[in-house]
Symmetry: C3
Subunit: 349 residues, 3 copies
Amino acid sequence: MSTFVRNAWYVAAWSHEVGRQLLARTILGDPVLLYRREDGQPAALVDRCPHKLAPLSLGELKGDHVQCGYHGMTFDCTGSCVRVPGQQNIPPTARVRAYPLHERYNAVWIWMGDPALADPAAIVEVPRYGEPGWGLVDGQYLHFRSNYLNITDNLVDPAHTTYVHKKTIGNAAGEDVGVTVEQGDAHVLAYRWIRNAPPVPLVARMGNFRGVTDRWQYYYLHLPSTSYVDFGSIDAGTEPSEANKDSGFRSFSFNFLTPETESTTHYFWLHLRNYHPGDPKVSADVASLMALTFQEDADLLAFVQREQERTGVREYTRLAIDNAPARIRRMVERLQAAEATPPGPDSRA
Amino acid sequence: MSTFVRNAWYVAAWSHEVGRQLLARTILGDPVLLYRREDGQPAALVDRCPHKLAPLSLGELKGDHVQCGYHGMTFDCTGSCVRVPGQQNIPPTARVRAYPLHERYNAVWIWMGDPALADPAAIVEVPRYGEPGWGLVDGQYLHFRSNYLNITDNLVDPAHTTYVHKKTIGNAAGEDVGVTVEQGDAHVLAYRWIRNAPPVPLVARMGNFRGVTDRWQYYYLHLPSTSYVDFGSIDAGTEPSEANKDSGFRSFSFNFLTPETESTTHYFWLHLRNYHPGDPKVSADVASLMALTFQEDADLLAFVQREQERTGVREYTRLAIDNAPARIRRMVERLQAAEATPPGPDSRA
Amino acid sequence: MSTFVRNAWYVAAWSHEVGRQLLARTILGDPVLLYRREDGQPAALVDRCPHKLAPLSLGELKGDHVQCGYHGMTFDCTGSCVRVPGQQNIPPTARVRAYPLHERYNAVWIWMGDPALADPAAIVEVPRYGEPGWGLVDGQYLHFRSNYLNITDNLVDPAHTTYVHKKTIGNAAGEDVGVTVEQGDAHVLAYRWIRNAPPVPLVARMGNFRGVTDRWQYYYLHLPSTSYVDFGSIDAGTEPSEANKDSGFRSFSFNFLTPETESTTHYFWLHLRNYHPGDPKVSADVASLMALTFQEDADLLAFVQREQERTGVREYTRLAIDNAPARIRRMVERLQAAEATPPGPDSRA
């Protein structure tokens, strides 16, 4: 049973990865070929020649066209075959699927579902992106040996940071602090405040708090798999207004999950911060600490995935903290069911 | 179809392996977590948190309790959950299986079946263990890529030593010497005497025979998979009394087979000898020669296992030497059938 | 579904590989053991003792007999068991299959099917073999991670050389030159002439053409999987008689495909040329360039095989160049069907 939602925008690659060479990447189980046209626009085709199924990525880019490296069949960036060497007629079956793309936030976003529904306005908003006073780390990538929904579980679950990420973004102060969950049409938010707490290691290292802090964790998960985490710390007792948060120690962490297969996931991430925004050494430090943090998730979830596959069981017991993850899974199931249902007469109105 | 017998004692680990760190080992297909309590007693739980199936072995030992590294669920050494961080009530499903253990012969023995039947008195007796005049090599381990019953086949089959172990414990003198088989309630014995024979390489190296010898091989297999081999050599023509054997060149070799999966086996072994009992160089030499011997079995049986799995066939022809192995397999099948049968009213009396 | 044809000669090994050591090789899915008898004749048995399925290749050669390394069962080169150590009677099931062999062209050919049909006269003829004026490179081997029929597709398809082998035996001049196909009882020929064309890289490097050439490619595929390619170049406009071809730049390339499994293939090849026939440096150069060429096929087909297995699809669209490959596949299917049909009363007449 697939767990994939096809009608959604996913990060296919960072912009710098897509150029005049042919890039192969598996997305939602499909082999995808990415390249850039001569006018600089990105293009994506299924990476599989319809003739013998050779990967087109082993071929060559000829202008805006892709020539298969096996028999020279050539496709334009809409997937139409424009040439079959040695024969005049082009068989009607000689075409490959093209995927809608949109470039934003230094990333190439891909739409794996019905092209008619591909509206770039649906790409998630990244607040503060490009604003002065905010430092950016982007272009980051990890490979997870886990189904993406095990990762979204974590990304609406602040509680796991206490145990999994005690080296960076968690500490014992959060152990017994419950989480509040809110649900929107297309997202779930799980959040909590941990008050009068010592700063977590990352904040202790980079911030300059002298006493205890009030720490917030707001975990948004936009369906199906875009995570946005607003977290930070202010001096304990400070009024938690947006302005005070912005003058405290604050980060916006975005994790763009792109399912590769049912058991593996591409994990693209970027990070915005309001401290030392222009300092490249701090940027490098943040990149390294967050990569360590996400790798801790990756390592743990690889074991979880393997045991779930071996037993055919996902969980034996359910806890209070599963409220938000369970909502996400139900919402994803509804999206999948809707994709499997023939659309009504006005469904694309 | 499982070939496992669950109501039996198996070596889970050597005593020195089990301490205040968390040790993960797969036994009879179950992921098992081993550790030592603060009072020094060993404990074993299934190595799988009931929440999301994360391995508990990735967590931490807190006193006698194990805290999961994912969300901090904490279990005592009976498998009861004693804490779920962030919530007061503990769900009734929040528990893990605990396995009875018993420590003997520097090994931690585990009972994978019905705990009510776990009687330490059923652990095999090792003769001469700890007696003066007997040198001990223990703490030895090999990993076999073979179902354990292919290994028990060898361990009631003296004949294979002639061909597989000609570097150490076999030689051509045994080629045509038949085997006598005796069967008990819970063991099979296959034995033979090879008379007027030159000593095998191991004996030639360590003993001081000047002429031909009478060599004995007594292969006991205690169900389901504990092997005890009494082998040795005396000057040809000596009366084979116990006293004469003890003053000859004699070894007791114990092999404790613990199925890991249907196609792999943990092979723990210890070895008692009556020659140079206190000489550490001889101990090291024996350890090395016996490890070589058992590795020869491991290498051969990995090929056998692979071909049996590929073809779905275990044997095409049966020989006289298969008498004892076939008995073991039938007895194991009866044990399995008994485990699958609901016990009668007095079955635990 | 097997794609194998069993009633055919396949190269099992190069002659120099078969000696007085035991050589194991999987052929048509069977484990095969190859060795040479004391009189120098090669012998082949199934590499699997009927007792416990141990590979006989782990045993020892005793004269012309093979002794299993597990319990010493001994087989002659017809597969009859001649000894079971420790017992007098030899069970009727104690025998292994022997395969007919024939040695020719420095290769040991094996017949995997009905021995009664094994006629060495059916081995393909290699023209010019051993004749003066022809240089030979033989003893060459590559391992393909591909079903053999994906390889035979290439070997009746001159068109792929333009795209896959542009470093050696293809260039753009062939892009739009069609292929003529002829079919015999047991072979297919696909050929074309590329006229007034610059020489391909291999010819440019080794030949001494000053202008454009007429280039021929004659691709014969003898059922089920012996490929014979006659290719060469003459000055453009030369009459294409056999004599003129022989005084031009000509090669006969033989590729002997032996299926290993359904997804892997042994690729034995030899190469005859009429240029610098006695020059070992040219031989080494040819060996290296042709190995590069075939490795290009191997690399591409490994991807094709993997995607075909993943999707369960072999092709989505069919092109004109598939005429000859499709004929081969149909002819192979007929051979397979014939093997599955009980022979009529005179079928071996």
